[in-house]
Amino acid sequence: MGHPYLPLTDSERRQMEQVIGVRNFTELFQVIPEKIRAKAAFDLPDRTEEEVKRLFRQWAALNTPGSEVVSFLGAGAYEHAIPAAVPFLVNQSQFITAYTPYQPELNQGLLQVFFEFQSLIAELTGMDVANASMYDGPTALAEALLLAYNVTKRKEIILLSGLNPEAAQVVRTYTANLPVEVHSLPVMEEDPQKQLMASVNEQTAAVVIQYPDFYGRLILSRELLSVVKASGALAIVYINDPVCLGLLEPPGSFGADLVVGEAQAFGLPLSFGGPYLGFFTAKKDYLRHLPGRLVGKTTDRDGREGFVLTLQTREQHIRREKATSNICSNQAFCALTATVYLSLLGPSGLQEVALSTVRNSHYLYEQLTRIPAVRGLLPQPFFHEFAIALSRPPADFFRRMREKGFIPGFKITPENGLGQDAYLLYTSELRTKAEMDRFCEEIERCVQ
């Protein structure tokens, strides 16, 4: 058959059969035992490009993307403005269609991108080393905990309240077959330091603290990490929207051992949850325990500077079952996207984005909590996300707000200990005063 993805023609196929010395290509498949050779065609017609496009346009039309409504939904995936230059630059054909740069002479460009990515992430987090990326935030955290277990040989992991529930679930899946206990601390309303001091002990391998946490709270401090470190456990900081680091002190300067997280916010579209971008940083003591790819600078035989994949003796293709991780890819294209995003924003841009999100969230919080039926939950200072409770909302609150053109945040499930009608609201820099005012009016109308 003639198809645009199949360059060979029938007459070329005949020529090839002759050179190979078979009468017919089916001879090459005789090696498949008769018993398992497929007998029947399966029902999948081929289609022209236009037909395929039409199908996907129809599916796309069945969705209502957040961009068509006013959305206050964050909870682990964060909408931010994406500069026009980002998609243009990352969608260069060389970047899209290259393989992992195992041949460094041919792929200095990609290797340099990863080196720049590592540099930017290390700078932002205040850490010694960053790898060339992980699948996503939750898997990066799971791998961080495996590292902590391998290094400390201790048997207990503490997840401070306010860890993204998706990340907590992935951690539990990854550690299910290890002799490790995972403790999730309940939502604390009082002093986190007290809560932590009551929980860490000499069997604690690691404590995970999200910054800002899932509820938007800012509880990470030098003092909190010193409690962890005094116990000999690894202090792991999880970051779900690193745009915050434009305004927040980097966890590295508080003494974190590992800082890992999700960097989708750096120029990646929401894309219904993926692909996103995990990052993994560490103090240099843990360098040889890191999972994933690392790019290093070196020189070539003529003395020119260049980049290579390095410290590969940690990795599965060399160490097999003794590798630090089974990971065999990175999120190369997503790491490129984040690198381009950060290059465009620069320090002022990142600070401005972070500041707009914080100003918006505080404005919205103030306006909402003026409504008698709305109560702020959790007293701590927050960043660009916060939790509220509604008293006696109508059963179809969500649907009614949605009909008015709003996604009123993320419904916090009762298992999180915040009651029945708790919502988590996120305000990106894209939200305007008019949208937020209108939202408050609608809520007031809806809950009264």
């Binding site: 058959m1 957040g66 998609p87 960053a130 993204n164 305004l247 290579v308 390095t310």
Partner: protein, 484 residues
Amino acid sequence: MRKNAEPVLLKERSVQGRRGYLPPVSDLPSTPGAELIPSFCRRQTPLNLPELSEMEVTRHFIHLAQRSFGVDQGFYPLGSCTMKYNPKLLEELPRLSGFQDLHPLQDESDLQGALAIIDLAEKVFATITGMDAFTLQPAAGAHGELTGLLILKAALKDRGEAHRDLILIPDSAHGTNPASAALAGFQVQKIPSSANGILDPEMLKPFLSPRVAGLMLTNPNTLGLFEENILTITQMIHGIGGQVYYDGANLNAIMGWARPGDMGFDLVHLNLHKTFATPHGGGGPGSGPLGVKVHLAPYLPVPRVVRTEEGFKWDYNAPRSIGKVKGFWGHFAVIIKALAYLLSLGYTGLKQVSTDAVLAANYLQTQLKEDYNLPYDRPCMHEFVLSGLKENPAEIRALDLAKALLDYGVHPPTIYFPLIVSEALMIEPTEAVTLELLDSFVAIMKDLAEKAKTVPETLKEAPYTTPVRRLNETEAARHPVLKW
């Protein structure tokens, strides 16, 4: 100006005060600023990011793109990686706003198109592989392996057979197989390949014990040879109560010809970035959906998409599920691309893909074995492994040949893998080739064989035309410089 060959870093291009982007400006009336952040965590450390104009950022990354090499730039016969052409339609579809701007936690009523895509992709994958149920959550092939092995572990615990702690893996397997098995809490037992490059049931027998949880296998294997005894092997493993895992890395050889499900495999992962043409993106994101037979379906990660009278829904009600292996639902944008590829080609096209991939590999093997050692000399499937030059007085290594190929504008084959072949050159042309391209590759390889005899030192010094030449990897590992 610096020489073109010297890398200039973003940081070196930075000039204080340059702007590459102006974010949206808040229209709130004179609201407070950074003091909203409590002083104990407000940034004190200076934020030392590069400052460039949009034009400079553009030139920087376009320059880096020009110093990179993808499938669009030239032949990429990288064995085991299936570097086929990435159709451009696939790039366009995920950028539709209805997909790109969809938040993963929106209400199901907003997501009916996305859930329909997941549902259909699962069904098409199941049809192609002969499996019963699929999860699209795994982020990559190795992640699919981990998911499958965690499922195996959970099923064993359920059956009260937690003592089964051994995974059998052939010596020709990908490194991810043993690494994933170890990560899931299994011990690894290596199985030797027979003299003809495939598993011999007789040689497998001594390893069958009550401790065996399962066997991981690629078929065709990494030598590009079909495991002819596969039915006997899967029956033997099932006979002792084990399960058989199919590493889908080499599915490109058999689509429409045979299905892992019919060979007796219980678990199968796919590499959408190999077989289904989603671009590799410089090393990721991939996507590694996992399929299982019905008896393992209850253990698949949550949530599952189910069809109800009110449309598609997420279903979290799976008490035996291993849980989540990844945030949200998988690499959705990659899944769109793979599905578009499958819908474009259909059954007939997919069978032709495998036919052409096998034809192209045999065409190269037949001609290259004149000058290169072919340790397993029989018709191959979609790839084959050479073992250095036949006439090699100057001891030219696989690495030298790979580096010399760079000067011809060809991405070298995979080298030194599989580990059981010395000086391995693993060649996978894929179906995305023309006859002219294959002939010119044969000519280049013959040219290298000739040079190895006449001017071997030129091969040992190669490459000459690339922006940098052989890099000092030992130095990079001994004194790691991993950031600015």
